[in-house]
């Protein structure tokens, strides 16, 4: 019997403006799985998350994105969100005049949950402020996680949740990500999935991931154990990945 995936990306090619960014992306994620994608800056990691979320400046020129059994290529952003996809942006914009609390109340109508999550992430002081306006790097990250915790997506797309924040905040954010991804349950009982992208890999110290990849020049390579990839990157940077990548697709898949 054919396995049912939560997300299936099939031979995806994506352009930003006239520039081809993603090439031949294939990725499948089952319910409850968390996948991590490493890669140097500019390799296309954020573009992949943006394409899944449906950001309008990205154009899918070939391939398909199937979520919960449906192609979502024609879905606008908000419909993808309503279907169960959530994103934590790396650099979220400030939205002047819109108070964070007011926005959270639209995402989740439970005042209790809003207060509990704000307490958990130590973000109560941000609630009466405009969304992301003059937030520090760490505050932006925690604010993104706070919104996702309240949105409760089936698939969370986290863009560099571990960059630009201090160790103390990484611990707090990681703990919440683990809760969001039901990491206290055995894999078979989890329903929430995630794609986390990182170039530092710090998040791996706190959150266990089920699969890992490296993205090089818009292609996903080295689908293997996340810790092995991270150890290799720590040892020699992305040099080996580039070397492996240059050997061709067959090696890449291995």
């Amino acid at each position: 019997m054919k396995k049912k995936y939560l997300l299936e990306i099939k031979n995806l090619w994506v352009k930003a403006g006239k520039k081809l960014i993603l090439k031949e992306i294939n990725l499948s994620i089952s319910a409850g799985e968390s996948h991590i994608i490493f890669g140097p800056n500019g390799s296309g990691k954020s573009t992949l998350l943006g394409a899944i979320m449906g950001l309008p400046h990205l154009k899918v020129i070939k391939g398909d994105i199937i979520f919960k059994g449906d192609s979502i290529l024609d879905f606008p952003i908000y419909e993808r969100a309503r279907k169960g996809i959530g994103i934590g942006f790396q650099n979220p914009p400030a939205v002047r005049g819109v108070k964070l609390k007011k926005f959270l109340e639209i995402i989740n109508t439970s005042q209790k949950e809003i207060q509990d999550v704000a307490k958990e992430l130590n973000t109560k002081k941000l609630l009466e402020r405009d969304i992301n306006k003059e937030f520090s790097g760490g505050e932006k990250k925690t604010c993104e996680i706070m919104q996702l915790l309240l949105q409760k997506p089936d698939l969370a797309l986290l863009d560099e949740p571990d960059s630009g924040i201090d160790v103390e905040n990484i611990k707090i954010v990681s703990k919440s990500i683990k809760r969001m991804l039901q990491k206290d349950l055995p894999l078979i009982k989890r329903s929430r999935s995630a794609i986390i992208i990182t170039h530092s890999g710090n998040i791996l110290d706190y959150v266990n991931m089920d699969a890992g990849y490296v993205m090089i020049d818009g292609k996903l390579v080295c689908g293997t154990n996340p810790s092995d990839i991270f150890d290799k990157i720590k040892e020699s940077g992305y040099e080996d990945c580039y070397r492996c990548f240059s050997l061709g697709d067959e090696n890449v898949k291995k």
């Binding site: 979320m53 950001l55 309008p56 606008p76 952003i77 908000y78 969100a81 309503r82 959530g86 994103i87 942006f89 979220p92 914009p93 400030a94 939205v95 002047r96 005049g97 819109v98 108070k99 007011k102 926005f103 639209i106 995402i107 405009d130 919104q147 949105q151």
Partner: protein, 350 residues
């Protein structure tokens, strides 16, 4: 006057905060066309009278304001020394028959006093021309907040001028809200600030297709430690808005800041901002920031990524842009302004 007509008047007047049954006011001054309908002080520390009478009683007024006509139409309000007036004073200027209304007002806040004036201007007659000339004198250690709420018809023309003198340690806060715009509005304010004086101007205007605003605020920080902040917000749905601002830092350690924000909801409107800073003392600190544009696609996508559709996301941004929290504003009036902003935010996105 028929009951129905009375009801209509009450409704129009409520848009600018006025109601004859209003509680939580310290006094009233109400003009309909050229007729003074109500002058009432509910606080013995508050003097409210027609300006025509006040210039006979306070002879110094003629010297203070040279331009007062022989028979001025408008208020004279004076808060006596050390008086803290708890509830706002309500002034209202309404044209319902006359095609033209020319108002002269003088407000004097004596030393150590504190008050909040809500001044509403509105009309129910087409092609009316409203002219308002106001003088505010804030004496040492006194504090005055003035909230002006205007509610016009698409054929109204408005000209307003004000001059303000803020003496030592005085505070002057001006909030100006126009959410039902006229056809044409020209407003010009000049404020002189003495030692340790503070002023703040918040202006919010909504320009529809037919409207044309020209707003000019000038502040002179004359003596040491004088401070001023000017914040202008203009929302255009096809209307034209020009905001000019000028802050001059003359005294030592003076500080001035100006913010001009404009949001264009379509390509038919125009927002132009001309902030000017003038330093004539090396120890003055002046700054400005300005931002004009359409609703940012990045912000919209961000809000939509949480499952909110485009219309709702736009409306949230417009509402947030216009939202004004004015301290001391009666709850009922604040609620009405919020309701109006909500209406505009929906209207603005369609």
């Amino acid at each position: 006057m028929s009951k129905n007509k009375n009801f209509i008047d009450e409704e129009i007047l409520s848009y600018v905060g006025y109601s004859s049954s209003n509680k939580n006011r310290s006094g009233f001054f109400f003009i309909i066309d050229d007729y003074i309908a109500n002058t009432e002080s509910l606080n013995r520390k508050l003097e409210i009278s027609p300006l025509s009478k006040a210039i006979e009683k306070h002879l110094w007024l003629r010297n203070y304001v040279k331009s007062i006509p022989k028979k001025p139409l408008g208020y004279f309000i004076r808060v006596i020394e050390n008086a803290k007036i708890d509830f706002p004073i309500q002034a209202c200027f309404y044209t319902k028959k006359s095609k033209s209304q020319i108002i002269h007002n003088i407000f004097v806040a004596e030393p150590n006093s504190k008050a909040h004036l809500i001044s509403g201007c509105t009309t129910s007659i087409q092609e009316c021309k409203h002219t308002g000339i106001s003088h505010y004198l804030i004496k040492d250690n006194a504090s005055l907040s003035v909230t002006r709420i205007h509610h016009w018809l698409p054929t109204t023309s408005v000209f307003s001028k004000s001059s303000t003198l803020v003496k030592k340690n005085g505070i002057f806060i001006s909030n100006y809200i126009v959410l039902y715009p006229p056809k044409k509005e020209q407003s010009h304010s000049i404020t002189n600030v003495k030692e340790n004086g503070t002023t703040r101007f918040n202006t919010v205007v909504y320009a529809k297709e037919y409207s044309n605003f020209n707003i000019n605020d000038e502040v002179f920080l004359e003596e040491k430690n004088a401070r001023s902040e000017i914040i202008n917000k203009a929302l255009s749905k096809g209307g034209k808005v020009i905001t000019r601002g000028h802050i001059q830092g003359r005294g030592e350690n003076t500080k001035g800041h100006m913010e001009c924000n404009g949001l264009l909801l379509n390509d038919r409107g125009k927002i132009e901002t001309m902030p000017a800073l003038e330093a004539i003392n090396s120890k003055t600190d002046l700054s400005h920031e300005a931002g004009i544009g359409r609703i940012s696609g990045e912000e919209l996508n961000y809000l939509m990524s949480r499952g909110i559709d485009e219309e709702t996301a736009k409306s949230l941004i417009v509402r947030g842009f216009l939202d004004v929290e004015i301290k001391g504003l009666p709850e009922q009036l604040q609620k009405f302004i919020h309701k109006l902003i909500k209406k505009i935010s929906i209207e603005g996105t369609t």
